[in-house]
């Protein structure tokens, strides 16, 4: 939690277990078969400089890009998948906003700022989730509590972009 992992080994699987309001943020370079996954807990890092790089959305995105590039990914080919951001409890404490929704929004903003396209997401709701990223096939699956792994992105037959669409 708050950590990030990266792999370029086709047999590896990156996993974030038990995402509630947290976000499992995946960046994938399908052509190079490099994947990186961060377990984001909160939206903004504020003054918490000593925190692990994956903890806050605003710092997790640049840190994850750097880690993926280090492992051989090309930045322009990176695609993002996000999972989590649930609101498991409506505690009605008034001042506390929905951390899950704030996390989701903060990750989107950080991805936009880095010009990484968000290709798939399963966010919101009230259930905990586990995300698995199979590095070799770029297949991302999601399992809700008590459920089965369901494909969210990628896999062997995933379409490959044939033309550059330019920066957005």
């Amino acid at each position: 939690m708050g950590e990030l992992a990266v792999s370029a080994s086709a047999d590896d699987e990156l996993v974030s277990i038990g995402l509630g309001s947290c976000i499992g943020l995946t960046l994938i370079d399908r052509a190079k078969a490099v994947a990186a996954l961060a377990h984001v807990m909160l939206p903004n890092s504020a003054a918490d400089e000593s925190a692990p790089p994956g903890k806050y959305a605003d710092r997790a995105v640049p840190a994850l890009i750097a880690a993926a590039e280090q492992a051989g990914a090309r930045r322009v080919r990176l695609e993002a998948v996000i999972v989590g951001g649930a609101q498991m409890f409506k505690l009605g404490s008034g001042s506390t906003l929905d951390v899950g929704a704030r996390n989701t929004a903060a990750v989107r903003v950080a991805l936009d700022a880095a010009r990484i396209p968000l290709r798939a997401e399963q966010t919101g709701g009230s259930r905990g989730r586990t995300v698995r990223v199979h590095v070799g096939t770029a297949r991302v699956t999601v399992k809700e509590a008590g459920g089965q792994d369901v494909a969210l992105f990628g896999g062997a037959r995933a379409p490959r972009p044939t033309t550059a669409t330019g920066a957005r």
């Binding site: 939690m1 498991m88 409890f89 009230s126 905990g128």
Partner: protein
């Protein structure tokens, strides 16, 4: 608040947990008509991620009763049952687990135990606090605990967890009882105990 606690402060917090969960154990024993044993509580002050790990395996399924506490100090009381323990407890109360009645019974247990716990805390620390209605969910432990701790810890990276185990005698049924004070709540609690 400071991000770390002295051993003396953690001892004081452990004692708070001991007295609070002792009160809760008594209430549970009266409710079930069985003896309830209480393990020595833990007081953990850990970085968020480690605190979540310390509570148990992230992918384990748990029924959770969440009781928000507000007033002079804000906190969350959290009761955790394994699926089997939730089923046993529900059958002791004559309802079926996983149904609306089962959830309602677990919520009521959470309400009674949580109120007993915070009553002890209130008189010990001289604070005025009240519970809000309980929420019952069944989900992955990691998702439950991380979602609550990110609420209580706010922008600090240290989460405080006061953790007790209650064991109902004569049947295989135990539960974890946790107090998760907010960052401001811990400061207030320690100040009231003369440990600030």
């Amino acid at each position: 608040m400071s991000t770390d606690f002295t051993d003396l402060q953690l001892d004081a917090l452990r004692e708070v947990a001991n007295i609070g969960s002792g009160n809760a154990a008594t209430a549970l024993a009266q409710m079930l008509g069985r003896e309830v044993e209480l393990a020595v509580p833990r007081a953990l002050a850990l970085p968020l991620a480690d605190a979540v790990d310390a509570v148990g395996p992230a992918d384990a399924s748990r029924s959770a009763v969440v009781l928000p506490i507000f007033g002079d100090l804000d906190a969350i009381v959290l009761l955790l049952f394994s699926d089997a323990d939730a089923a046993t407890l529900c059958s002791l109360l004559g309802v079926e687990a996983g149904t609306e009645w089962g959830d309602s019974a677990l919520g009521e247990i959470g309400n009674i135990l949580g109120t007993s716990y915070i009553n002890a805390l209130a008189s010990l620390a001289g604070v005025s606090i009240e519970p809000r209605p309980p929420h019952v969910v069944t989900d992955m432990l990691g998702a439950i605990v991380a979602s609550l701790l990110t609420e209580t810890a706010g922008e600090t990276d240290i989460a405080l967890v006061l953790d007790s185990e209650l064991d109902v005698q004569g049947v295989a049924c135990s539960m974890s009882f946790l107090l998760l004070p907010t960052a401001g709540g811990v400061t207030e609690l320690l100040a009231r105990l003369g440990m600030g």
